[in-house]
């Protein structure tokens, strides 16, 4: 399956979904006014990927900031991953947060409590 690569902007993150390796990454800032528009291709891509996923899918989410409008879309992305995991595929979400950024850690824990996929909280130390 073709990779999904989106270059980041000041308001949207870098996206690199590599379907061949089962390595998915979202990195940067996610603060667009219209998040649905930005996240639609990601959700669509995952829907297709879910039809023939890799045995192991690893997802790296490394956000510096995200707004509440993105938070719902991120949940939609995670729900797609949950569906893959439910079909007995190995899925792991790595949630990165910067040292002392308790708000970002807490945001990851909120998702972890809603989504039935193994999460790993990873603190980045400068």
């Amino acid at each position: 399956m073709e990779s999904l690569i989106i270059e980041g902007t000041t308001k949207t993150p870098n996206v690199n979904f590599d379907g061949e390796k089962g390595q998915l990454e979202i990195k940067g800032r996610s603060i667009p006014e219209n998040s649905i528009e930005f996240y639609k291709p990601l959700v669509d891509w995952l829907e297709e990927y879910a039809t023939a996923p890799k045995t192991k899918t690893e997802v790296n989410v490394h956000l510096e900031y995200f707004n509440t409008s993105s938070s719902k879309c991120i949940l939609d992305v995670f729900k797609k991953l949950e569906a893959i995991h439910k079909n007995k595929y190995d899925v792991q979400i790595n949630w990165y947060y910067e040292e002392d950024d308790e708000d970002m850690l807490e945001a990851g824990e909120d998702y972890e409590s809603i989504i039935r996929v193994p999460f790993k909280m990873i603190e980045i130390v400068d």
């Binding site: 000041t10 509440t68 708000d103 909120d110």
Partner: protein, 182 residues
Amino acid sequence: MSFSINEYYTKISEGDILLAYKGSITSELINEVLEAVEGKLEKKNEEGKTRKKLYNVLVESLQNLYHHIEETHEGIDEDLEPKFGILVIERGKDGGYKVTTGNFVAAIKTKFLKEKIDKINSLSKEELKDMYKFILNHQKISAKGGGGLGLVDIARKTGKKMAYHFYPYNEKYVFFDLQILI
């Protein structure tokens, strides 16, 4: 005495101001404000935690304005730009910040807004977390943005009560002022 935008703006811009703006709240304006504030905080070597909280509060409050301000305001005599709003960021003496936003809202929305903020202000940290998760998981995202998560998120991140005021303007509109401490 009736409410005057200019008097209000002059009054709230009196303190130790990091940034003050009145005019159209557009997507470009939001970019400019965020960039300017980031630059200023970097120069000041502001602590990472405060910087992030202020940035988050600015994103949410500006996007709340962006999504909810009406394009034009009928019957308001003052010469207003489209999607008119006010933003003032003030440095507090305690090392914190105060973000004030102001905009005209339909008078009939006063009760809804008041109840919403009072409710959020009455909740504990844990209750805010539960409310946030509930809205996140159960409410559809609306065309107007985050489906009501913005204020809950602000309350969670600041851990402080929001202050607000509704200034009567005319039959149709009140001027809504929201103050957030960081």
